[in-house]
Assembly symmetry: C2
Homo-oligomer: 297 residues x 2
Amino acid sequence: MNEVDFIAALRKLPLHPGAHDLRDDNATIGGLTVTTDTIVEGVHFLPDDPPGDVAWKLIAVNLSDLAAKGARIEGVLLNYPLSSDAWDRAFLDGLRAALDTFGCALIGGDTVSLPANAPRVLTLTAIGRDAPAPLRSGARAGDELWVTGTIGDAGAGLRVAQGTPGPQALLARYRRPTPRLAEGFRLAPLVHAMMDVSDGLLIDAGRMAAASGLAVTVELAAIPLSAEYLAYAGAGLAAHLAAATAGDDYELLFALPKGDEPPVGALSVGRFAAGSGIALTWQGASVPLPANLGFQH
Amino acid sequence: MNEVDFIAALRKLPLHPGAHDLRDDNATIGGLTVTTDTIVEGVHFLPDDPPGDVAWKLIAVNLSDLAAKGARIEGVLLNYPLSSDAWDRAFLDGLRAALDTFGCALIGGDTVSLPANAPRVLTLTAIGRDAPAPLRSGARAGDELWVTGTIGDAGAGLRVAQGTPGPQALLARYRRPTPRLAEGFRLAPLVHAMMDVSDGLLIDAGRMAAASGLAVTVELAAIPLSAEYLAYAGAGLAAHLAAATAGDDYELLFALPKGDEPPVGALSVGRFAAGSGIALTWQGASVPLPANLGFQH
């Protein structure tokens, strides 16, 4: 089954009130915010990615979901497939670095053995508290769509990891993403809706619009690109479109009433309106949608 | 690395106070009890096990950890690898059956794709509340060791699943274990220590003794065996030893002060004393330890 059909089938099962009908990356339970992500070797990371970077990314992608709720970090549970001494030790080094960097504690977990040559499958569950942010479904017609940081660096970094020459700064954005925790704390009480950009700005903007029952228009020229990305990919429509459809950015995407200025570094990249679907413009002129809006599982 | 070394390394990372130094199957956080288990195709279940039974078992093994704390079930998060329509639909049927049977709700989760031919890896995280049971480390010298239900059925059922002729009742114990939730509620306020028997009675009794800083002696002849198991495996020392070292029972193992009678069906199978390690007797006479005390990951 594909992800959409499977989640639709899950919605027919008994759901917890805090599951938010499985329409958000976070669940709410007893004052806590819970999120979980699984990453798979050969799908979400490359077999030759350094194990310490895999550990970092596993932590970062989950904390990024907590950041999107403005949650304080309580800690994480790790489900880990034991492998070689060298891989496991390097993984532990990266795990320590990420936990220290983000002020995060280990709560528990499970270890398993995999059959020989099976791709590694790692799960992390992150728990936070005091999460004031509304769901991704809270955007209102007239709201502006904003995004923190720069977009597309990780997608370009993936191509560098795969062997295309390019700047190390892009590779670092792919391998050691930074969850926008501080930004999330400050934005959470102010926004109408917030989520992290994990699968691509366009696909995630479309998801926020769909969850909110609205249409969204994204101005591709407004999407913030880094100097490294511009040097690597150029500055035209194609480069902006590639950035907007690449995954793994872990920036925050949020809806604010028109005229409000966010208290963190961010750029307005679009507008919500009554209706449905996503539309693109390039310097104000309509642009056809690309075949893929982002990373599809 | 092996599991023991890896968990020892994890203990050197920043730990949450509710992690109980990673010495229990459950963590405590904000009044909630959290446990997580991963099961792997070819390791924890057979590739030709019915998908609905895999779903059931995934739920049951996690709820069994909540049962060992006497927790009320809040719900579960599922990390699921999408596969064929037929497998996924049969899994969903078993998931619904287990959720309905145990009065459990879905809180959230994540779906991923695996590379072609990769063994399925499934994770469930179960959350409970109001868990009065002490840790597995609470046993005291002089306490008796008790176990609910019958032991060894699931281990024999695994051999039936692998093709050895045997009763369907044993196969059912292997494929659709029952977490002892009602027993856990009643026992939790009374016991000094409690855990579920997941890897084998002997290995788990040894873990409870080690966590409590005690020695334990198990009387093999006292281990409760079902009529089906006795008919299948015979009644001698070898049959009791096989039952006591087989996994997947999901009965409750608990320590009570000498003389106390538990309010649920259970049998006394051993005694804690000052010291360390596990010793075995058969009708009162000392018996050497087998090479394997249970399922080792």
